[in-house]
């Protein structure tokens, strides 16, 4: 019996909801129960966006993640807002290109990933979210296998299948860090 | 003996509840005659309004739906979208169509919804006992404008044909009257055309029929008919306000 509560937060446009959907599909394909809950409304347009993803071997009760086991912070306001909410022993992944401060918590595992820099260096500008996800897949027990193609193909819409390979490459960069 | 006049088949035998001298009866007959002439009774569904014609569902022999006040064009939209091959008409008064149902009227028109709207304008709320209508004339005395319609207080009458004809959507807009034989003949033609347009899938056709309300106008039926001639028609000029097919033809000739 295990349940992983994941919270992804960042600016609108950073691919927060997309990344969450990818993780949910990854969990689903691996036989877990999953839920994905976005923040919705005007705040999504250019403001902060976040989504709750739950991956569980049990039925998912409340889909709301207040106390994440895993926090993925893609900008400073998100880290400021949610750092304190992570459960002791949890994990914080953050984009260290966009967040210059250090994580203050000492009772969590911290992964500082310069995702935005790595994305632009490797000509995958805008795919910092997927670089982070690559690392998340590798480090979180909720995800069993390294394969991401099937899950990704579910979330990349049919008319954007050309983006599948670049997203996979970005995931690889994160996974191999 | 030869039959020179008969009740249209599309009218039932139910006795009409309208007041003596009311012209709703004439308009019902014109609608039913158009249905007969075009042989569409079996596929026609009518939508009755809230107002004096609320019980029109008892008078037309075709299938009928009774709509909420003002909502007939929306109900007719649903019917037509569900049954594109059936003929759908609404029969509405001035309060129903031009006041509470204005949004539904304008939007059905602008969508060029392929329905036929019979709009009976008698410048008063009849069913509730003679209150001011959106089409009551300036100065007209009603129960709720006892000193005459004061345009400074409650604005001007709404001229539906003029208003709708400015939209790009509707196919056909015409105003007729039923106060004398000549006008009734013209009204008969217009109503028939409004149904033909639908059969030919041309779209939204609205016929405004200037009608009388002797009871609530406080006049004899005869006086009411001349009041139409002297007061209503000058304010609401008769004629074709929009005929898109004709416009197109003219365009082609150029």
């Amino acid at each position: 019996m295990s349940t992983t509560h994941i919270l992804i937060a960042g600016f609108g446009g950073q691919g927060v909801l997309f990344a969450g959907k990818f993780l949910a599909y990854k969990g689903l394909i691996e036989g877990c129960n999953v839920s994905w809950l976005p923040s919705y409304g005007p705040e999504m347009r250019g403001g902060t966006a976040n989504c709750s993803v739950i991956i569980s071997s049990e039925d998912v009760g409340s889909p709301i993640v207040d106390a994440p086991d895993v926090l993925i912070a893609m900008n400073l306001p998100s880290l400021d807002k949610y750092e304190g909410a992570v459960v002791p022993g949890g994990k914080i992944f953050y984009d260290s290109t966009l967040i210059s401060r250090k994580v203050e918590r000492e009772d969590v595992k911290i992964y500082a990933i310069p995702a935005t820099r790595l994305a632009s260096e490797s000509s995958y500008r805008g795919l910092g979210n997927m670089i982070l996800m690559g690392k998340v897949i590798k480090e979180c027990d909720a995800f069993k296998a390294p394969d991401t193609r099937e899950a990704l193909s579910k979330v990349v819409s049919a008319r954007h299948q050309d983006l599948l390979e670049s997203n996979l490459s970005a995931l690889d960069i994160g996974y191999n860090l | 003996m030869s039959i020179v006049f008969d009740k249209p088949h599309a009218l039932t035998d139910a006795p009409l509840h309208y007041c003596p001298g009311c012209t709703h009866g004439i308009i019902h007959r014109l609608v039913a005659k158009a249905i007969d002439d075009l042989d569409i009774e079996g596929s026609t569904v009518g939508v009755a309004p809230v107002g004096c014609a609320v019980m029109a569902y008892n008078y037309f022999a075709c299938d009928m739906v009774e709509a909420a006040h003002g909502r007939a064009p929306a109900v007719a939209t649903g019917l037509k979208r569900a049954m594109p091959d059936n003929i759908i008409f609404t029969y509405q008064g001035d309060g129903d169509l031009a006041s509470i149902g204005m949004a539904e009227t304008v939007h059905a028109a602008t969508r060029n919804e392929n329905i036929t709207v019979i709009f009976v304008n008698n410048a008063i709320y009849g069913m509730t006992g003679g209150q001011m209508a959106p089409t009551s004339l300036p100065g007209q005395v009603t129960q709720t404008s006892p000193y005459g319609r004061d345009v400074k207080l409650c604005g001007y009458p709404i001229k539906i044909c003029e208003l709708l004809s400015r939209l790009d959507g509707p196919e056909y807009i015409e105003r007729v009257a039923v106060n004398n034989v000549k006008n009734i003949k013209a009204a008969e033609k217009a109503i028939k055309k409004a149904f033909e347009n639908q059969i030919n899938k041309k779209g939204f056709s609205l016929i405004e029929v200037i009608s009388s309300c002797p009871t609530n106008w406080g006049m004899t039926p005869e006086k009411a008919l001349s009041w139409i001639e002297e007061n209503m028609i000058p304010y609401y000029p008769l004629g074709v306000y929009k005929d898109r097919s004709a416009e197109k033809k003219e365009g082609e000739q150029q």
Binding site: A24, I29, G61 | C62, E66, R71, A82, N86, A103
Partner: protein, 354 residues
């Protein structure tokens, strides 16, 4: 598992409606249900269906009325303020004994309120909302899978009982994604000989109408309608029971509140508190008997709601006030946390010991 797809609750409703044979959808944009309209706008033209963005919620419900009168399956969706506008039309649909499906993805009120989840339209949905004596069957999904399943069921119930059915969801279930598997669906074979499809000159005209100026006749038609409602009350209550067999405390909660409560029940059980959950799936008919029976054993009830306490009245009625019923709630778009529910459970447990 991979035969399931992740769907938003709102999309699941739309897809299920299409599976149920609904080819006429009329909507008007309002958060947080707009995905239903967007989904229908995309899908309907491809399957020969009708999607129409109406000029108002009022027009939309009356278009539904027209399609329903024609004997076809029709649907509209909105969120709380829009449902108030539709209430006139819903009353007419009920008064004409027409089947239709109305979706309310609730948001906080009153007035324009907010756009975050709420359950504060419980009274409006279960008590009528519009004027006159009438009911809707009210279905309350708690999972995205149920958004689909109850939509299928809702269309059937509407046709069987010739009455409007409402899916009473909330912003959370509407917006969230979960795995969904569309059920195999066999359309009902129900004759709609009352529909206004044109006489074809072969029968007397059908009339779809709610006007009746003779009090005796109008009374009679109300009596007849309530005979049908009686059958609904007897046959159609649906609910889920969770760990109620030995429970001293029973939580009553539907939709998102039930999911939150389930977490709290699990935590309380770990602490040795005997607590269970009854989750009404139909809010009308309310699953009275389940509560009546539970009251034989359980000593107290807690109604967990995203409202100022609306369903609690039905719980009190169902247990005939034999047991205390406490309220645990958040409103205005806030959602009770499992911790809040757990602390209420502990508080009630303490009260019971006294």
């Amino acid at each position: 598992m991979t035969d399931k797809v992740l769907m938003k609750g709102n999309e699941a409703i739309a897809e299920a409606a299409i599976a149920a044979g609904c080819r006429h959808y009329f909507g008007y944009p309002i958060t947080p249900q707009t995905e239903i309209a967007a989904y229908m706008a995309k899908r309907m033209p491809k399957i020969g269906g009708v999607f129409l963005q109406a000029e108002s919620e009022i027009a939309a419900i009356n278009m539904v009325y027209g399609v329903a009168a024609a004997g076809k399956r029709a649907m509209t969706s909105s969120s709380s303020p829009g449902i108030s506008l539709k209430s006139e039309g819903i009353s007419y649909i009920a008064g004409c004994d027409l089947p239709a499906l109305i979706v309310n993805v609730q948001r906080g009120g009153p007035g324009l309120g907010g756009i975050q989840p709420s359950q504060s339209d419980y009274f409006q949905a279960t008590r009528g909302g519009g004027h006159g004596d009438y009911h809707m069957i009210v279905l309350a999904p708690a999972y995205v899978q149920e958004m689909a399943d109850l939509t299928l069921r809702g269309f059937d119930l509407a046709d069987i009982y010739r009455m409007p059915v409402m899916i009473l969801a909330d912003g959370t279930i509407g917006q969230m994604m979960e795995p969904v598997k569309m059920k195999e669906y066999t359309p009902l074979n129900i004759s709609k000989d009352w529909a206004v499809t044109g006489t074809k000159m072969k029968r007397v005209h059908n009339i779809v109408n709610s006007l009746c100026l003779e009090p005796e006749q109008l009374e009679e038609s109300n009596f007849k309608r309530y005979e049908r409602y009686k059958a609904v009350l007897e046959k159609e209550p649906m609910y889920e029971e969770y760990l109620t067999d030995d429970a001293d405390i029973i939580i009553a909660a539907f939709g998102i509140a039930a999911r939150v409560s389930k977490n709290a029940v699990n935590e309380a059980r770990k602490m040795g508190i005997r607590v269970g959950l009854i989750r009404p799936v139909t809010l009308w008919p309310f699953p009275k008997k389940a509560f009546e029976k539970a009251a034989d054993r359980a000593k107290a009830f807690i109604s967990v709601e995203l409202s100022m306490g609306q369903m609690i009245e039905d719980v009190e009625l169902a247990v005939h006030c034999r047991r205390p019923v406490y309220l645990c709630n958040r409103v205005g778009g806030m959602i009770p946390s499992p911790e809040q529910v757990l602390s209420k459970i502990k508080e009630v447990e303490e009260n019971l010991k006294k």
